[in-house]
């Protein structure tokens, strides 16, 4: 019992720190309600290396690099670096791809969903309901034997590839050669100083590695097993970011909390598509075994299935902007609506075709 209480306390403390860091990064220059957003930041990074040409969202985000490094350092320090892979990589790529399409319909990953709620953006509550429904749909399939088969051990060099790519991206960001894109206006131009973003990512990455933090896992485990540990972490992020936003609003003269549906930063108020966007993301992430943050953390631990998932998210982001699938402050696009519907169908087909009827 003590162990369990300690674990819960650790998770709550980690959540509080993540919420404080998430809110503070906005103060240092990140877009509002976007201290962290794995979907947005992978999308910006894809733009930074020119995989899409949406000029307002191009910047190699150091937070992403930091999350992978933070997890890697924590895993090495605790001897948990464990290179594994080989569990349905192409399926995971596709799930990652559509998890991103859903997130860019809503304009945020589950982490930003929490930060948007903490900033008073009620559209994120609508998306949260969709997210819970998506997770419940995934749980329905888990309970009926959904599985992507087993991982096996892979070489250390294989497990190190994504962290090495992250290092290369950091070098590109610092060296800033002419072929790397930097937004001059729009969300991609708004960012905290590099060192602050990187350190914030490393701290959050290490905390998330130690506590197995997962935005999807909290709701999933509550539905499946009535296990509330990860959900408490989720609530801790929300409460601490909310309190920080209120403190910043009171002390800086700038508003970081704006309650309502309209005129929210980098958001639209189309309820149906906010709902369906995160429905798709929640559904896909349950089938992947964790939210985008968790995939980054696992890839830092040497999990190459999660690394492939990150590539799926990354390519999904590039496609989203090349084909006009991503929503914007003006609302969703018709192409994006079609892509989300296709995504829900594809994810459902993946769920149905991976039901294992044989007894374990």
């Amino acid at each position: 019992m003590n162990l369990s209480k300690n674990e819960k306390a650790m998770t709550i403390i980690a959540g509080v720190i993540m919420g404080v860091i998430g809110a503070s990064l906005v103060l240092f220059g990140n877009p509002k309600n976007m201290g962290f957003c794995i979907a947005c930041f992978l999308r910006d990074t894809a733009g930074g290396v020119g995989l899409h040409r949406a000029e307002v969202v191009q910047y190699i985000r150091p937070e992403i690099i930091g999350l992978i490094f933070g997890s890697l350092f924590a895993a090495l320090a605790t001897k948990e670096f464990s290179p594994r892979g080989g569990s349905a990589p192409m399926t995971r790529f596709v799930l990652g791809f559509f998890a991103m399409i859903g997130a860019l319909m809503f304009l945020g990953c589950p982490f930003r969903m929490i930060l948007r709620i903490a900033g008073g953006d009620l559209n994120a509550i609508v998306a949260f309901v969709g997210f819970v429904c998506g997770i419940a749909t995934g749980v329905f399939f888990l309970n009926r034997g959904y599985s992507l088969n087993r991982t096996r051990k892979v070489s250390k060099s294989e497990g190190s590839i994504l962290p090495v790519i992250a290092l290369v991206f950091l070098v590109l960001l610092v060296a800033a050669p002419a072929f790397i894109f930097f937004s001059e206006k729009g969300p991609g131009s708004m960012h905290a100083p590099l060192a602050i973003s990187l350190i914030a990512g490393i701290i959050v990455g290490a905390l998330a590695q130690r506590t197995r933090f997962c935005m999807v896992g909290g709701i999933r485990d509550m539905i499946l097993f009535r296990e509330n540990r990860l959900l408490l972490g989720f609530v801790a992020v929300l409460v601490s970011a909310l309190v920080m936003n209120l403190i910043f609003s009171a002390t800086t003269g700038t508003s970081y909390f704006n309650l309502g549906f309209e005129n929210q930063p980098i958001a639209h108020s189309d309820g149906l598509w906010n709902f369906l966007g995160l429905y798709l993301t929640g559904f896909a992430c349950v089938l992947l075994g964790g939210c985008p943050v968790r995939q980054l953390i696992l890839s830092g631990e040497g999990n190459t299935d999660s690394a492939v998932t990150i590539l799926g998210l990354f390519v999904g982001a590039a496609f989203a902007h090349n084909f006009g699938l991503a929503a914007s402050g003006d609302g969703p696009t018709v192409n994006g609506m079609i892509a989300v519907v296709i995504g829900i169908v594809v994810v459902a087909v993946i769920a149905l075709t991976n039901l294992k009827t044989a007894k374990e």
Partner: protein, 69 residues
């Protein structure tokens, strides 16, 4: 005692398999895992259901023995 091989499975499959196994074998089960998160999750689940959980190292991971407390 029934043995569940949950090695190499993604979250939360090890716990789902354990839950299903203890439904059929309420006196206890053995669960093999190879990831720290799975070891923690199965241990936490076992304790929440009133089982004693003994952890032994194996070549590739851990053997968790759940017995009714």
């Amino acid at each position: 005692m029934k043995t569940i091989d949950a090695q190499g499975l993604s979250c939360p499959e090890p716990v789902v398999l354990t839950r299903n196994a203890v439904k059929e074998n309420p006196e206890g089960v053995i669960v093999l895992v190879d990831a720290v998160a799975a070891r923690e999750n199965v241990t936490r689940f076992g304790k929440s259901q009133g089982y004693d959980v003994a952890v032994e190292d194996t070549e590739d991971g851990w053997k968790l023995t759940l017995t009714k407390a």
